[in-house]
Symmetry: C2
Subunit: 350 residues, 2 copies
C-alpha cells in the first residue's frame, strides 16, 4: 500500500566476463577479444562466445574497461545556459556526432557563472572524460589549465583571446553583417540602427565591430543616436528599441546582436504601434528556432550551430588521436531573409 507501482522483484545478476567464458568454454581473454572484435579468434569459437553472451544477457562493465584502458569514451560538454534557445541545436549536433562513435556526452551548464564553470571542469576531469568542449561565452583560464594538466583536450568556442593557447572554433562575423547591410541598402534603407550587446563581452564587441566595418565599406558610419546597448536578452532588446524609437529621427531599420534582442525590439515596436516591417525593418542574429515563429517571421543572420558543434567535435577527436589540435576554419554566419524586412515607408521627406 502506498506504492505507486508494483515492484518487479527481480534478482540482479552480476554477469561478468568470467561467466561468459565458462559458458562458452573459453578463457576471459578470448571473450574479450570477441567483444572488441580483435582478430585471431576462430569463427567457430567466436560464435560460441557470442551465443553465450546473448544467452546470459551479458553487458560489459564500462568502469572496469575504462579503468584498464585509460579511456572512457566520455566527452564533456559545457554550455552557458540550456534555457537559452541558442544551445539546444548545438547540443543536439554534438551529441549526435558522439553517439555515432559510441561516445557518451555528459553535459552541464554554467549559468554564466565562472565559479560554476570551474566546478564543471573539475567534475569532468574527475569523471575522466576524454575531452571537453566548452561552448560558453565566458571561460575561466585556471580551469582550462587544470584540464590541460590532467591531459584532457579542450576546445573553446569563439574565444579570440585564447585562440593562441587552446583550440578554438571561431566565428567570422564580417560576412553575415555585410550581407545584412547589403540587404537593407538594397531595400532602400539608409538610416540603419544597431542594438549591441554589453561591450565587456568579447563576442558582443566583435559583432559591433563587424557591423561597423560593414558600414564603413559602404561609406557609412555608426551614429551614436542610432546605437543602443542591451543585455542580450528580450528585455534588453525592448529597452534598447524604446530608446531608438524615441530619438527625433529614428532609424528605418535596425540590426541587433542577437535574436532575443530582436524579439525585444519587435515587442517594443508593437507597443509603440510601429508596424514591422512596414515602418521598421529588423534583422536579428543567430537564427533561433523562435525567429521563424514570430510575427512577422524574423529575418536574421544565421549562425550555423551544427557546424560549430561539428568543428568542435572533430577538433577534439584530432586532439585525442594526434595529440595536437589542427586549426579549424572560422564558421561563417549568413543572412536568412524572412518577413521582418521591407523597403522603408516613404515618410516626411521622400
Amino acid at each position: 500500500m502506498g506504492l505507486g507501482y508494483t515492484l518487479v522483484n527481480q534478482r540482479v545478476y552480476h554477469m561478468d566476463i568470467l561467466q561468459v567464458a565458462k559458458r562458452a568454454n573459453v578463457s576471459t581473454a578470448t571473450v574479450s577479444r570477441v567483444i572488441n572484435g580483435l582478430p585471431g579468434v576462430r569463427e567457430k569459437t567466436s560464435d560460441r562466445v557470442r551465443r553465450a553472451i546473448a544467452e546470459l544477457n551479458y553487458v560489459p562493465n564500462t568502469n572496469a574497461r575504462s579503468l584498464r584502458m585509460g579511456r572512457t569514451r566520455l566527452f564533456g560538454l559545457i554550455v552557458s545556459d540550456i534555457n537559452n534557445p541558442f544551445f539546444p541545436e548545438l547540443i543536439d549536433a554534438f551529441e549526435s556526432l558522439a553517439a555515432a562513435q559510441g561516445i557518451e556526452v555528459i553535459f552541464t551548464h554554467t549559468n554564466y557563472d565562472p565559479i560554476r564553470f570551474h566546478n564543471c571542469v573539475r567534475r569532468m576531469i574527475e569523471r575522466n572524460v576524454d575531452a571537453i568542449a566548452v561552448m560558453t561565452s565566458e571561460v575561466e583560464e585556471e580551469a582550462l589549465q587544470q584540464a590541460t594538466t590532467a591531459g584532457v583536450p579542450i576546445v573553446l568556442m569563439n574565444q579570440r583571446e585564447l585562440a593562441g593557447k587552446y583550440p578554438n572554433v571561431l566565428v567570422d562575423y564580417s560576412v553575415g553583417f555585410r550581407e545584412a547591410l547589403v540587404h537593407l541598402l538594397a531595400l532602400g534603407h539608409s538610416n540603419i540602427g544597431f542594438i549591441a550587446g554589453p561591450q565587456t563581452l568579447d563576442s558582443a564587441r566583435r559583432r559591433k565591430d563587424a557591423f561597423k566595418s560593414a558600414l564603413k565599406s559602404h561609406g557609412l558610419r555608426m551614429r551614436a543616436e542610432w546605437t543602443a546597448i542591451g543585455d542580450m536578452k528580450v528585455e534588453g532588446g525592448r529597452a534598447a528599441m524604446d530608446k531608438l524609437l524615441s530619438c527625433n529621427s529614428s532609424p528605418t531599420a535596425v540590426v541587433t546582436s542577437n535574436d532575443l534582442m530582436a524579439i525585444g525590439a519587435l515587442q517594443a515596436a508593437h507597443a509603440a504601434h510601429v508596424s514591422v516591417p512596414k515602418n521598421l525593418s529588423i534583422i536579428g542574429f543567430d537564427d533561433l528556432p523562435v525567429a521563424s515563429m514570430m510575427h512577422p517571421a524574423l529575418s536574421t543572420i544565421r549562425l550555423p550551430r551544427n557546424l560549430v558543434a561539428a568543428q568542435a567535435f572533430a577538433c577534439l577527436q584530432q586532439a585525442i588521436l594526434g595529440g595536437e589540435g589542427a586549426a579549424v576554419e572560422p564558421v561563417q554566419p549568413h543572412l536568412v531573409i524572412r518577413n521582418s524586412t521591407a523597403p522603408p515607408a516613404n515618410r516626411k521627406r521622400r
Copy 2:
C-alpha cells in the same frame, strides 16, 4: 605551421592514491578514509593527507571507485527531442538537482524513435548509471524491462498505462483545462474550439478528455466542427486553425493541446487577418519560454516542468535507497493569463 594553437606539452601525471599515501606517510586506506570523510582518522593525520592531496594535485579515479563500489553516481536522462523547447527547463531542473548531490547526468534524446530509445537505454545500462529518468512521450517496454533486469531503477513521465509497473510522474490535466474554460466563460465566450494532438498519443488523448469533461461539467459539449487535430508542432497548429477559421460559424476562442500548436494557430489567425485577442482568443498548453515572447503574449496552461523533474529525481533517489519507489503526487498544470485572451467581439448576433 598549420597549427591553430601552441600545444602545452606537459607530461600527464597519473597520480594515484598510492603516491598520496607515500607522500603523507600513511597507507592508501587512510587516504581513502580522508577523501570519503570517514571517521577514525586523527586530525593531524588527515591534515597531512589533505596537504599531500593538494600538493600533488591528486584527483581520485572515478572509474576505479565506481568499479569497486558498484555505484557510479551517474544518472541517465532520456528526452524525446532537445530541440523541442519543452525540454530544456526539465533538463535544467533535473541536472541542477543532480549536481547538488554530486551526481552527473548523461543525457540523450530519442528523436521520437523507439529504436533510438532502446539504444539509449542500453547505452546507459552499459555505462552503469545508477538510475534512469525517461522523459519521453513514447517508450519501449522491452528496454524498460532490460533496465529492470539490470537492476537500474527507472522513472517515467506521464505514462498512465505503465503506471502500475514502473514509477511514474503523472500529470493531472483536469484542473488546468478547467481553469482555462472558466477563464474563457468568464470573458463571455461560449463558442470554444479545441485543437487536439494525434489521438494515438496517450497524453494527447488525455488532454482532449480533460477538456471535454471540463466542458461537460459546465453543461457544454465538444462540437466536431470546432475540433481539429494537429501534429503537436507549429505547422499542425496552423493547419488546424485554418480548418476552424473556415467553418461557417467559427469559434471565438480556441484551446490547444500545446503551445507550439497555439503558435501555429496564432500564425493562421494573423494570415487570415483575424486579430488576436480582439476577434479570437487563444489558450495554449505547456508555457514554453516562447509563449511570452509572442505577440500577443500567449495565455497558456503552465505545466510545471521543474516539478516534474523534481518528482522524477526524488523518485529515483528513493528507489536507489529503499529499493522501492514511493508513489508521487500527480503534477498539476495551472492557467497563466497573458494577452491572447479577451472578451469576444460582438459579432453578427450580439
